[in-house]
Symmetry: C2
Subunit: 262 residues, 2 copies
DNA sequence: CAGTGGTCTAGACCACTGC
DNA sequence: CAGTGGTCTAGACCACTGT
């Protein structure tokens, strides 16, 4: 157990009102912010911190759990605690569903990922009929049943997004939309071929902490929120033809929108 | 210390691989999800949970801290641990900066809050000249200095949003934009009067955990992420005339956007 | 194997709340 | 005042990692 480089972490002010474990978290946070521990770097081990600050192990662990819940560090059993690297971010432009992007053979996700030099993957694709929740039902105009298309998206093997599309069953049944692979241009292209010319999309954006299920599915580190995006597609007759409920790892995405001034 | 109502919380499976504190968190989470503890309700005290599950206090506290980091509960010193009520949500529509909303006397925030029956407030308004960060500078076309307008928005006394607007100094100096109160319609109305007719806005949306500063300014409960929205306003000549960097309590907002299909 | 983080105990004292 | 959560200690044993 090597001694810590002096001066890197400072000391505790025992006269301060601020709890010791918060002070230790503050010192570590400063050190990370100032680049004394870089992305991916290993922090001093718990026992080193115990020795350096002269406190008990639980106090040190308490400090580290603060930094973890802030998304600054993550721990790896048997290895150490590391400064969380900022993963590459995927930028979703507001024209990503424009018709012109749909006339190619590949999906928007695939095209974009390959352009960015990443390896795109879609897995756990499941298509089935369901009774809609009251929320989905309301958005789709109260259909009795819906077709649900679930799938998970990965970049270079890392899960980044989980999405479920809901379509009124009377509209999707016995069409390519009910197939696992709906063909080039995706379900929006098929909807238009079926005579539902798309007019616009409504998107609702929320952020929150993930459920335990979402942590598992998206392999989220602790301290990483999710962005939830609910998109409703309307055809030119004003009918809602699809609702897509997407949950994204917040540290993998930036959403970009363009708004007219009038 | 009353005994817990039997059957409400179940028991620990000591043969399970799952850590005891996680199992306790699971039981409590289920109970909350199933409505056995409603919004605002008090959970059993730590000592009651210690007795019920037959574990040490630190184990119970560990469980509670999981629920706290999930944003499900929050603790109040001397009172107890309570199920977090979902606060009323403010919905930001994508046309909120349309010119037609600017022709009244009041700000968009004020009008909208009053319509929803809330009491709007703006405080800690500060206007000053600054050297821009490299990010802001790049977005605004590399001005040497900028005018920064900082303010915090509150609803019914609760802080919900903190925003900073940056404008190129050559454009804003010695205009009403540099005044604490820029007048009816806000700085966008003033910009148009100065001949910068607005053409469109670009918005970038991110979500992340808050910094300790943001926790303080927005009085965030632990386990609440923030939404960061960076908006750039462009005039009809394509010049970026303002960048607004907004940090919002994620549990107070839903962002709504409308996208054309082509 | 030694070193790391993960879980858990059984205490202690403190600060805040409400009666 | 009793009851609550907040902080902290000094141990213990375990599971995982790398050599």
């Amino acid at each position: 157990m090597a001694a810590l480089p002096s001066g890197v972490l400072g000391v505790i002010d025992s006269t301060s009102d601020r709890a010791v474990f918060r002070q230790i978290a503050d010192r570590l946070r400063e050190a990370i912010d100032k680049g004394r521990f870089k992305e991916g770097a290993k922090l001093p081990s718990e026992s080193e911190l115990v020795e350096h600050f002269g406190v008990s192990r639980m106090t040190v662990r308490n400090s580290l759990s603060i930094l973890q819940s802030e998304g600054l560090v993550s721990s790896e059993h048997g290895k150490g605690v590391f400064v969380r690297p900022r993963p590459p971010v995927r930028r979703l432009a507001s024209d990503r569903f424009a018709r012109r992007h749909r006339e190619q053979g590949k999906s928007a996700f695939t095209v974009e990922a390959e352009a960015a030099g990443s390896r795109p993957e879609v897995d756990s694709l499941k298509v089935r009929e369901e009774r809609p929740t009251s929320d989905i039902s309301a958005r789709l105009g109260q259909p009795r049943k819906v077709l649900a298309r679930r799938r998970r998206y990965l970049l270079d093997g890392r899960p980044v997004e989980f999405a479920v599309s809901y379509l009124p069953l009377d509209l999707a049944r016995d069409t390519p939309i009910a197939e696992p692979n709906p063909g080039p241009g995706g379900i929006y292209a098929r909807l238009e071929e079926l005579g539902h010319r798309l007019d616009h999309f409504d998107e609702e954006v929320r952020a929150r902490m993930p459920s335990p299920d979402e942590v598992k599915t998206l392999r989220l580190a602790s301290g990483v929120p999710v962005i939830q995006l609910v998109r409703t597609a309307y055809d030119t007759e004003g009918r809602a033809v699809e609702v897509c409920d997407t949950v994204m790892s917040a540290d993998a995405y930036v959403l970009a929108y363009q708004l007219p001034a009038n």
